[in-house]
């Protein structure tokens, strides 16, 4: 997971030494933390089952991966995440843009959205579980519901922040309402919409892990680490946490940074 930081220096040749130094500098804190962990584990302050040395965690990680258990948990989690997030994206952007475009929609929807927003998403979990039962439907709906809020707010702000001068220019050049929307309002609001999607996805990710614990779904990383607790499988739990961290980092660095670099950064609408 250090890749993201080390790839800063991508030039070859004379900077090779510089690259190695950067790599060493990045790895150093992890080595320190790992060493401390090992010492605590081997000295035996805590029971070994609760505080396994790193090689046991690694062995467990490899074992769970080879047997296909860890990948299956991860895939189920990602499918849930993407389904919920897609739901939130479609509904959230639509509502947000509608609120930005129409005063009437803004007046009606803003109070409703503002009432729902300050309640932490997970607090709705028991309610969803009661209404929709344990399992996939509840978890996907809850993830979608919770991550829709930042998407709505940012899309709304983004549409309102579209510069009047762009609208005027486009109208002067003969853009009708439909094309004004697709050629000016949407790209103009895109920096905000992307921010909203990004926040929404992060929110969805944070919530999903907990929802999987509560909703008692048969597979999923949240369930894996929650279930591992019962049998004191701390090594499996830590392996699951590592996968969670890697997926979280990948979503942020690989997906969103790519999209941003390709659009709003290239257009100079935000700096990278």
């Amino acid at each position: 997971m250090q890749d993201a930081i080390t790839t800063v220096a991508v030039d070859r040749g004379p900077v090779l030494a510089e690259r190695w130094r950067l790599l060493a500098r990045t790895l150093f804190p992890f080595i320190v933390v790992a060493a401390i962990w090992e010492i605590i584990a081997w000295v035996g302050i805590f029971p070994r089952r609760l505080f396994p040395p790193l090689e046991e965690v690694a062995a467990s990680f490899v074992h769970l991966t080879m047997t296909g258990i860890l990948p299956r948990h991860a895939i189920e989690t990602i499918i849930r995440l993407l389904t919920g997030f897609a739901l939130a994206g479609v509904v959230g952007v639509t509502i947000g843009v509608l609120m930005g475009r129409s005063r009437r929609a803004e007046d009606i929807l803003l109070p409703l959205v503002s009432i729902g927003a300050p309640i932490p998403g997970l607090a709705y979990a028991p309610l969803f579980l009661l209404w929709f039962g344990l399992g996939n439907v509840s978890s996907v709906l809850l993830v979608g519901f919770v991550s829709a809020f930042p998407i709505i707010f940012n899309s709304w702000t983004g549409v309102k922040a579209v510069k009047e001068i762009w609208v005027r220019s486009a109208q002067a050049m003969g853009a009708d309402d439909r094309r004004l929307f697709s050629h000016v309002i949407l790209p103009g609001a895109l920096p905000y919409i992307l921010t909203g999607l990004r926040l929404g996805l992060a929110q969805a990710w944070r919530i999903l892990v907990a929802v999987e614990m509560l909703a008692a779904v048969p597979w999923g990383l949240g369930w894996l680490i929650f279930g591992a607790r019962k049998f004191l499988n701390t090594d499996a739990m830590l392996a699951g946490i590592v996968v969670i961290a890697v997926i979280g980092l990948a979503l942020e660095k690989l997906v969103f940074q790519k999209i941003e670099n390709y659009t709003v950064v290239r257009w100079g609408m935000i700096s990278s």
Partner: protein, 264 residues
């Protein structure tokens, strides 16, 4: 190109502080292919008038006819250039910006790119067709904006202090370039500015407006041959005359003022 008739146009702003007249009973006739500058201090309603002609504001009274056709909202017979550099769409390249109007008209891709290239060449930016606006300097961005307003071939060009935010040297270059573009395209131009020397350099005729309420005070014809020499005696005389109409008394003692902004 087409003439513009402005007849008894008035507009009242409805502000929290009460009703403020923006422009009051303005009448003007502008000939086909004429270059008209409107000068006046801030708040004299010159930009308001331009926005009415552009169709962004609806006058409370009076009417405007362009080529005999009554103005009702914005239309593709007019191209508009604003002062703000941000008027370009940041998500489109220079070429994409210039091609926008043609795209709206439904011109096929090859054709509109060919025209856009041509327009960018006219403003001497043919090397920057693929650049995004944030990579261009302020002057270059305004040149793109001019090319963009010309690309779909409107008969009238409306310009709202397009060079006001540029530094003095760039502004001189841009004025020369605009004069050249106008000579080639022969559009009817209405150009709002508060810079007196700019008005004398560009215009066939200068309209002087005064505030509270915004009305036309007087107009001055500038019959100087083009290209004009800003240092010639006649040129400076016109500037002095304009400044006098704007309420600046310029004696021989302070010639420096003649080159400055009327309402700095």
């Amino acid at each position: 190109m087409v003439p513009i008739e402005i007849r008894d146009v008035s507009l009242i702003y409805d502000t929290p502080g009460g009703k403020v007249p923006g422009v009051k009973e303005v009448s003007l006739n502008i000939g086909a292919s004429e270059f008209v500058c409107i000068v006046g201090p801030s708040g004299c309603g010159k930009s308001t008038l331009l926005n009415i002609i552009a169709g962004f504001l609806t006058p409370a009274a009076g009417e405007i006819r362009i080529g005999g056709k009554k103005v009702d909202g914005h239309g593709m017979d007019r191209g508009v250039v604003f002062q703000d550099f941000a008027q370009l769409f940041p998500w489109r390249t220079a070429l994409g910006n210039v091609a926008f109007g043609l795209e709206m008209k439904g011109v096929p891709k090859d054709e509109r790119e060919r025209i856009a290239h041509e327009q960018l060449r006219l403003v001497k930016l043919d090397k920057f067709t693929g650049s995004y606006p944030h990579h261009l300097s302020g002057g270059m961005q305004q040149r793109v904006a001019i090319a963009r307003a010309l690309a779909y071939n409107p008969s009238v060009l409306l310009m709202d202090e397009p060079f006001a935010a540029l530094d003095a040297l760039t502004r001189d270059d841009m004025q020369r370039l605009l004069a050249e573009v106008w000579r080639e395209t022969r559009k009817t131009v209405i150009y709002v500015t508060h810079n007196v020397s700019e008005a004398v350099y560009l215009a066939d005729r200068v309209i002087v407006m005064t505030p509270h309420p915004g009305t036309v005070k007087t107009e001055i014809r500038i019959p100087l041959p083009r290209p004009r020499n800003p240092l010639s005696v006649e040129f400076l005389d016109f500037q002095k005359e304009l400044l006098r109409h704007l309420g600046y008394e310029t004696g021989a003692g302070e010639p420096a003022k003649a080159n400055g902004k009327a309402n700095a």
